[in-house]
């Protein structure tokens, strides 16, 4: 298959856009029915549509509830479908309007945060009104995030729907902090690229036809896989105004946007020739009052520059623009196996730092390796547990749609900690006599390969200097397709003094959603060999070890078993303390040459 880079360009006519009033004006009453606001919103939508069509790009028009009451928007959408082949879809964003407030008596606007009863009521209301206006039900829908309950309800009641914008990658704690702790979209832990959501949890890729929710999930924007993980997710995506928000421009030019698009295009190399972008700029980002430091003229220029680049790629035959439902059909055809992973080998295109991440996502796990830390695992989400996490008013969890982690090196310290204890990470320690060198301090880069069905990433050789010998080493990570297993090999390529060293593969884990520790009590740690030894987590810093064994943690709150296994290895588990509420699994081997091979596996506990 030759490389195919697909663009979904999505516009939404929002009659009372987020930010349009409160952020840009002050001392004025919040008037959602203000005529001037509605006129401006309409003008922005028409501008966006024209900007796309003038460049030969088709769009998906995601009608909002508010816009369905506006005959001009409805007429414009019908016209653009007829003339330009745009798809008329329906978003569950943009609910706020006079009619919504009168009917639902609430200012909530995120569909996943409503009660189950209201989710059904709102979905039915919006879909029915859409049908009344257009004479058909939409094929595509979405929101910033769609929870499994809402998706399953939509698919059962409106089977025409085949695609949905269903998450915004790594929008969570970082977005909350960026907004002065006022933006409650906690969606961390999902896929960064399109996927088929599981019926159990929409963040998790479906593992079978029985688990398939029936829609293709589309991320809200294509976000920078280094910058959005390390920093503010709201600044670094295929959204030119987000790029302005991040002040990533000089002399009103945004080369970063083009570099970001190119890094996404490059991912076709690792994903069977397929790469994807989604651009979705809400009208609030193009209002005449400007946005923060950016005056309207710059907002408009950046928007047009972004489209110009996509249009150029299309003209050169290097981009295919599709509507969302067209893309869903393409995706189904090009991804016949549920087990096909999405991967990304991503270089920094923003800071000029030679940092490289490898991201991997399949129905069993989402993970990230950081080659600036020797290939340390800095993120691990146990999709194998396929956790059903109801969200919304009345569920006991009003807003948090995060999929939990076992490792999150930025939220939970990683290699570097202050004073005592450890942070979450998976790496390897090289030990000789009193010396310990952690491979987290080996800065390297890596090469991707396919070996059979497996994805393999291999680091460049690196040196480990010890007092009486220097090792040349290399690490290789094999992601076994459809198994939830990552095999890690640490090779000693050379050992200058031919002295024995101990290689200890370790994982420091916990479980959580945001930055703070949750109760670790009752997590079961085991070493399993000729004998099985176990302890129940009680913050006592105890350790167990057993030769020729494996190390395992069972984490009841996330229904997950995580294990490190290998042939003939000394296995160890260690509980943490209240000041460092983690657990450690490790397996080790002493050798002079050769390699240590171990496997990380994830399973559902029950």
């Amino acid at each position: 298959m030759s490389d195919t880079f697909i663009l979904n360009l999505v516009d939404r006519p929002e009659m009372a856009p987020e930010y349009a009033q409160k952020t840009t004006q002050s001392g004025q009453k919040d008037d959602i029915a203000d005529d001037a606001l509605i006129r401006e919103s309409l003008a922005i939508f028409l501008f966006q549509q024209k900007a796309a069509h003038d460049r030969g790009l088709k769009t998906t028009i995601e009608m909002t509830y508010a816009s369905l009451f506006n005959d001009e928007v409805v007429a414009a959408a019908k016209h653009d479908r007829e003339v330009y082949g745009d798809e008329i879809a329906l978003t569950l964003l943009g609910l706020p309007c006079r009619e919504f407030y009168a009917k639902y008596k609430t200012k909530d606007f995120c569909i996943w945060m409503f009660s189950e009863k209201d989710k059904k009521r709102i979905v039915d209301d919006v879909f029915t009104l859409f049908h009344k206006k257009f004479g058909f039900y939409p094929k595509s829908t979405g929101s910033y995030y769609l929870d499994a309950f809402t998706i399953n309800y939509i698919k059962a009641k409106y089977p025409s729907v085949v695609a949905a914008v269903a998450t915004c990658w790594e929008e969570g704690v970082k977005a909350y902090h960026t907004t002065n702790d006022s933006w409650y979209t906690f969606l961390d832990g999902g896929p960064w690229a399109p996927w088929i959501p599981s019926k159990a949890n929409s963040a998790v890729p479906a593992s079978s036809i029985e688990d398939d929710c029936g829609l293709v999930g589309i991320p809200h924007l294509s976000r920078d896989l280094i910058a959005c993980y390390d920093g503010n997710g709201s600044n670094f995506g295929t959204h030119p105004q987000n790029v302005l928000r991040g002040m990533v421009y000089k002399d009103n030019e945004i080369p970063y946007f083009y570099n970001l698009v190119d890094m996404y295009r490059h991912q076709a190399k690792y994903n069977n020739g397929y790469a994807y972008n989604m651009m979705f700029v809400g009208p609030g980002w193009l209002n005449k009052a400007g946005r923060w430091e950016a005056p309207y003229a710059l907002l408009k220029k950046a928007y047009e520059d972004g489209l110009d680049y996509y249009a150029k790629l299309k003209k050169e035959g290097r981009l295919v623009d599709m509507t969302m439902s067209e893309f869903a059909a393409f995706y189904r055809k090009s991804h016949p196996s549920y087990m096909t992973p999405e991967v990304a080998l991503w270089k920094d295109v923003l800071y000029g730092f030679q940092k490289e991440y490898f991201w991997y996502c399949d129905p069993f796990l989402r993970t990230c390796l950081d080659f600036n830390q020797g290939g340390a695992m800095i993120d691990l989400r146990p999709y194998a547990a396929k956790l059903a996490i109801p969200v919304g008013i009345g569920t006991g969890n009003a807003y948090d749609a995060t999929y939990p982690y076992i490792i999150e090196a930025n939220y939970r310290a990683g290699y570097f900690t202050h004073y005592a204890g450890q942070g979450t990470i998976k790496s390897c320690r090289v030990k000789r006599k009193e010396e310990i060198v952690d491979l987290c301090l080996e800065r390297t880069m890596a090469t991707f390969s396919k070996e059979g069905d497996d994805a393999v990433v291999t680091t460049d050789p690196f040196e480990v200097k010890l007092a009486d010998t220097t090792l040349t080493m290399q690490s290789a990570f094999r992601f076994e397709k459809g198994k939830g297993i990552v095999e890690v090999t640490r090779r000693i390529l050379a050992n200058s003094a031919s002295v024995p060293v101990t290689l200890e593969e370790y994982l420091v884990g916990c479980y959580g959603r945001e930055e703070y520790s949750l109760d670790m009590t009752g997590i079961r740690l085991e070493v399993i060999g000729a004998k099985t030894k176990r302890l129940s987590y009680a913050y006592k810093g105890r350790a167990l070890e057993e030769d020729k064994a494996s190390a395992k943690a069972t984490i009841p709150p996330i229904d997950t078993v995580v294990a490190l296994t290998g042939e003939g290895l000394l296995a160890r588990v260690e509980e943490g303390i209240a000041f460092s509420p983690m657990f450690t699994l490790s397996v080790e081997k002493t050798l002079t040459k050769g390699e240590l091979t171990s496997c990380l596996s994830l399973k559902k506990a029950r």
């Binding site: 030019e253 080369p255 570099n259 005056p295 270089k347 991707f448």
Partner: protein, 86 residues
């Protein structure tokens, strides 16, 4: 002294921005300065613009265009961005 309001452009606090917080500033007409509600930053428009320019310094590729992503384990190749280049 009358209440503060937002300025003609809606500047964020450069100090908060540098730690990834978008914090709108308000304008004190009497002192002719923008100020932050969250931290102690305050400054004239000129000072804000200078501080913003410093914040951008962390973006090493701000004005560079990638021309070759290169082999997996090799650095990017870039060149100075030329105005209008796509």
């Amino acid at each position: 002294m009358p209440q503060s309001k937002k300025g003609p452009l809606n500047y964020r606090c450069p100090s908060c921005f540098s730690r990834e917080i978008d914090m709108d500033m308000f304008y004190d007409e009497a002192k002719k300065e923008y100020y932050c509600l969250r931290c102690c930053y305050h400054g004239t428009e000129e000072e804000v613009l200078k501080a913003n320019a410093l914040v951008k310094a962390k973006y090493g590729l701000l004005d560079r265009r990638v021309d070759d992503i290169g082999l997996d384990d090799q650095p990017l190749h870039t060149h100075p961005y030329k105005k209008g280049e796509l």
